[in-house]
């Protein structure tokens, strides 16, 4: 059966506290972290982008999977901050991790769910026996306009998943999607920063699509909330996934382990995939995981996953999500602005 044969993550070292951002914009109350459920967010170094983050995550995935990278026959990188508008990030990743040249590759974009769309594409190719192993990456160096609400959560990081059939660490039992035309968040060609529909991003966008995806998956798999040990929802902030869980009747403790957003912010295409990796880092064999990724625009990809025994012997091979969360250096707003090219005079 098709499953995850390897996975790896990467989070840049720098962090900025959300209270530091708030103070720049005149909010000295110190309550922004609690309000958003995001206390600090990851910041990429000046020499990091989606290509470098993807390569580091993919190298971790390959090392954990103990596979020959030449067996990877499809590479998909999902992101909304690809370094080139035209020139695939996937080619850079494939070359850097030592893939065969006889493979297919493409970059994907679907706001925050482009990475899980890549997982579904790789699953299709593996299940139809067109390829042995496919690599799907979700990574972003998310942009937030200075002073905008997004600036508190737009973070950097990525997760890479190797999809195959041989000795999986976790089996993907089923996946479904739900897609509509909902203009809650977008970025036009040539624009530096995205725009969003403010409060519109909640009810008709995130909640509607995540709920529809979740219910559709439960129906298709003939399961209930009680059949799952862990839940992972896309994390645009710390509040939305918790509210979604409450709405669906998910016990808090089943969601808690996936909420990486509190320490690193929203890694966009890497968000739900990073939450899933955090769960895979700790889940016992036989555990069941329910994940729903959400992408603005809008759509959701829902997955039912069962952890296999093979996962336990592969732990300790590569850094965990917590290892990366723990490796941090705080920067102030000025340094953050310099690293993120918000100081235009520097070019």
């Amino acid at each position: 059966m098709v499953g995850i044969v390897g996975y790896g993550v990467y989070v840049p070292r720098y962090r900025i506290k959300t209270t530091d951002i708030a103070e720049v914009w005149g909010d000295f109350s110190g309550t922004i972290g609690k309000g958003l459920g995001v206390f600090e967010k990851s910041v990429p170094g000046p020499d990091e982008d989606v290509a470098t983050i993807s390569v580091e995550a993919a190298r971790n995935a390959v090392k954990r999977a103990q596979i020959d990278p030449r067996d990877i026959e499809a590479v998909y990188v999902g992101s909304e901050s690809h370094p080139y508008a035209v020139k695939p990030t996937g080619t850079i990743v494939a070359e850097a991790i030592g893939c065969t040249h006889d493979m297919t590759c493409a970059d994907l974009e679907f706001a925050c769910k482009a990475g899980t769309a890549g997982i579904q594409m790789a699953m299709g190719l593996v299940k139809s026996k067109m390829i042995k192993i496919g690599l799907a990456i979700g990574a972003d160096t998310a942009q937030g306009r200075p002073g905008d609400a997004l600036e508190y959560s737009a973070a950097a990081g990525g997760a890479a998943y190797l999809i195959g059939t041989k000795n999986p660490l976790a089996t993907i039992n089923e996946t479904v999607s739900f897609t509509t035309d909902t203009p809650d968040f977008w970025r036009r060609e040539g624009e530096d920063y995205p725009s969003h529909g403010a409060r519109f991003t909640g009810e008709p966008a995130y909640f509607r699509h995540v709920e529809a995806g979740a219910k559709s998956l439960l129906k298709k798999t003939k399961t209930t909330i009680d059949d799952y040990d862990y839940f992972v929802f896309h994390m645009p902030n710390g509040k939305f996934p918790v509210a979604m869980g409450a709405q669906l009747g998910v016990p808090k403790e089943k969601l808690e382990d996936s909420l990486v957003v509190r320490q690193i912010g929203n890694t966009y295409s890497g968000s739900a995939m990073m939450g899933l990796a955090r769960v895979l880092d700790i889940a016992k064999a036989g555990s069941t995981i329910f994940m729903v990724a959400y992408g603005s625009g809008a759509g959701s990809d829902a997955f039912s996953i069962t952890v296999e025994e093979a996962i336990e012997e592969r732990r300790g091979e590569v850094p965990t999500v917590d290892d990366y969360i723990g490796r941090k250096t705080y920067v102030n707003y000025a340094t953050y602005a310099k690293f993120r090219r918000k100081i235009k005079a520097l070019g």
Binding site: G45, D47, D49, A51, V55, E95, P319
Partner: protein, 140 residues
């Protein structure tokens, strides 16, 4: 001049991305970047491609505080001579460590970073820099 650098970047991709150098089968010496001829064995040398493991230690370093225009965003930054475990030395930037914490002999591993951009519309050159090995499970 957006096309600047294209050929030179493309030619070095294997070395810059994966650390491919070479090794002389005759005298067992490793070379990075790869050499066309073994300077020790000359005609008797037999060079084969070798992918370096990317692990080593800092042989010497310097902290750059006055940088060229392209690198101003990064100052202060560290440039070091890294001695790889296979014996050869190369020059690279050291990242993920503050300048006051870098030390000769520090254990480092190759990581993947953006090296240079040929202007805003030009090609982006990626490749190796080095970072201290993380004190976590399995990083080496």
């Amino acid at each position: 001049m957006a096309e600047q650098g294209v050929a030179q970047v493309w030619r070095r991709i294997k070395s810059m991305y994966k650390g491919v150098g070479n090794r002389c089968e005759t005298c067992k010496t490793y070379y990075f970047p790869p050499r066309p001829v073994c300077p020790e064995c000359r005609r008797k040398g037999k060079l084969v491609d070798y992918t370096f493991k990317g692990l080593g230690k800092i042989y010497s370093f310097s902290i750059v505080r006055q940088a060229p225009e392209d690198f101003k965003r990064q100052i202060p930054y560290i440039v070091a001579q890294v001695e790889l475990d296979e014996g050869t030395r190369l020059t690279a930037q050291i990242v993920n460590v503050d300048p006051e914490d870098v030390k000769i002999g520090m254990r480092v591993r190759a990581c993947f970073r953006k090296i240079k951009e040929f202007g805003q519309g030009g090609i982006i050159m990626y490749g190796y820099k080095f970072e201290p090995t993380m004190k976590v499970t399995g990083h080496e």
